[in-house]
């Protein structure tokens, strides 16, 4: 969580993806499908624990009609996406966005732990 990453300065919503500009002058493109698939909420995240359910989630997302989401900041540490189709609950920390931009595993290899409820 406390990884040092460059600061996200600009997020441009395009038709199928976002263009991210960081303060180290690097730009990245992340597709909306990748963002939706990496949703950190308690409903979506456990589906990535197993390969099969993760693939199913991906197929579900890809079947949705393309849309440009609303994006807003959450405090100073994250952003959230509001979609018409798909889950809008996830709060994406800037570290997660950075991982997605760099094609890294946003879950860092960890499976989602629900606890005992």
């Amino acid at each position: 969580m406390s990884k040092t990453i460059p600061e996200l300065k600009r997020l441009e919503r395009r038709d199928l993806d976002v263009l991210l500009s960081y303060d180290n002058d690097k730009n990245f493109v992340v597709t909306y499908d990748d963002i939706k698939h990496a949703c950190p909420c308690a409903k979506c995240a456990p589906q990535r624990n197993e390969d099969e359910s993760s693939r199913y989630l991906r197929r579900e997302i890809e079947a949705m009609s393309p849309e440009k989401p609303k994006v807003k900041t959450v405090g100073k540490y994250a952003i959230s996406f509001e979609w018409i189709n798909g889950c809008s609950s996830g709060i994406y920390r800037f570290e997660r966005i950075w991982a997605l931009a760099n094609k890294l595993d946003p879950d860092d290899g960890k499976s989602y732990v629900h606890g005992a409820w």
Partner: protein, 331 residues
Amino acid sequence: MSIHNPNADDSKEPNASPQQQKQMEQAYAQMKRKMAMEEIGRKIKHKIMVLSGKGGVGKSTVSTGLALSLAQQGHSVGILDIDITGPNVPKMMGLDGRRLHVEEGRIHPAQGHLGVKVISMAFLLEDEDTPVVWRGPIKLGAIQQFIGDVEWGELDYLVIDFPPGTSDEPLTVAQSLPNIDGMVIVTTPQDVALLDSRKSITFSESLKVPVLGVVENMSGYTIRGKTASSTEVIISGPGGKSHKVSSDGDGNFSVTLDIFKEGGGKDTAEEFGVPFLGALPFDPGFVRGGDDGVHRIVSEPDGESAKAFSKVVEAIVEQIGESSSEGLEIV
């Protein structure tokens, strides 16, 4: 309330029945309250919910501590004690036995230490030993009244203290009060509390209220002593763990013992990718202060606990920011 339409032919229109009249009045009152809530939303700059999954972790102590620490920094602050069945905030704020002032249908909060405004169910109880046994809808109505009918005035921060768990109260507040900045989750470093904190974090996602972070309360107890100068002392801590400390040139030494466990709150925050706001020490002064109505921050404004609260407040203010979109351009 009566609504007159000048174009209507009154002689042909039947009058509203008493039941219809009552429904219209209720709808009017509801609309007025909704407008008042929106107005309150504008007048109060920041609203912070304080929750915990488990009871007994010191949530009301943290809520009052945060409010007082913010007030200490010069902010105008209010506390809304939404724990209908177990309201403790007035006692901690030295407002035990006080009654609320009502003027022109608006409730005026009581003012506690450092000018912090307080609203609590405790002010409405005839006898502090009388339990409040209310079912959901009545509780919901009382909460909406506490939000919509209170004359808070202009506030920088409103701290909202909830009962433990993930029940009706946070849901009602999140749906009624606009623009809540986020929630602070209070935990203690023990497995059951941490497990329940995880529930609260997940709950925040359902409420669509961001988690400002996790505060670990009762995090460690610092003991101090005196011995010969520059001497090594071995302290036997909880669980048989030995702590080796050295005294300074004057023979003073101190060591912080983890009464429960170490770093649980931080680990939970990291696991869920939410900020860790800091740890508050185990301080028996809080118990005495709570009972006497003089909060530790008021009695010892420069003490260790006040400093720890101040750090947590700094972390919260950092999360909220004056402008949350500062620095990031979204197009």
